[in-house]
Symmetry: C2
Subunit: 149 residues, 2 copies
């Protein structure tokens, strides 16, 4: 996939502000939402100009699906969640991104979708570091270098 | 795909109650949410026992993605919407289903996700019939027989 990735891609500033980088998979940058209410990943294809899933070529759609499935399996294994929520909405941030969220029946928004229900809750530093490290191991992706963050 | 479809599949009663059948694609039953606030399709793989996207085998995941993309393109062409929302949530109805929703900046929930924002608005009969017919033409799927509804 790397050959299709363009150098002129950059992460939308709102996504950069609301998340912590986990690392890069072949197509997507994987981000952890900085909200301890829910283990919540966001996958952003590193290609410029994408808004809708159907803006991706078919083989890239399939690659994205594979990366969504891999992150969903990792999140389920790590969190033993009750349900996964997967969504591409983009009503507020137009850059194509896919949410993969681990839900529990005891979480702050259950059974509602998470968006707009509770203000983000900051992670304790140790909890955040441990979750990021576990995710990197499960997803076999490395921490991004300083230039990319 | 048809060979993998099991006869013991049935549509969850809550999905049956809240929607009108559009027809069947190779893997999924396509439903129109009975809510005139938003042109809103729901795709349900016709295989028993599925809860998560990752419960599907990989080739069926790719087939589902193709049917999601086809319905998204049809909905975009028919409605000239501003944004598509695609989501597999399932916190309330456990049977695996994927929402494909045409959003407008002028709609009742924009920019929020649609779930739980407004009570469903009934379609006028003529509008509903016309939308169902247009969807069937775009998706090349036929109205279900009486036995399947």
């Amino acid at each position: 996939m790397d050959s299709g990735l363009k150098k002129d891609w950059s992460l939308h500033p709102q996504l950069a502000q609301d998340t912590l980088p986990v690392g890069d998979m072949p197509l997507t940058r994987v981000l952890l939402a900085n909200d301890a209410n829910y283990p919540w990943l966001i996958l952003v294809p590193r290609l410029p100009g994408l808004v809708e899933l159907i803006d991706l070529e078919e083989n890239a759609q399939v690659q994205l699906l594979g990366e969504v499935a891999a992150t969903a399996r990792a999140l389920k294994a790590l969190t033993e969640c009750d349900k996964l929520n997967v969504a591409a909405l983009g009503n507020q941030v137009p850059q194509l991104h896919v949410h993969v969220i681990a839900r529990r029946r005891s979480d702050a928004a259950w059974p509602k979708p998470v968006w707009g229900v509770k203000p983000p809750l900051a992670y304790a530093e140790g909890e955040r570091t441990a979750l990021l490290e576990s995710l990197r191991q499960h997803l076999k992706c490395n921490e991004l270098g300083g230039m990319d963050r």
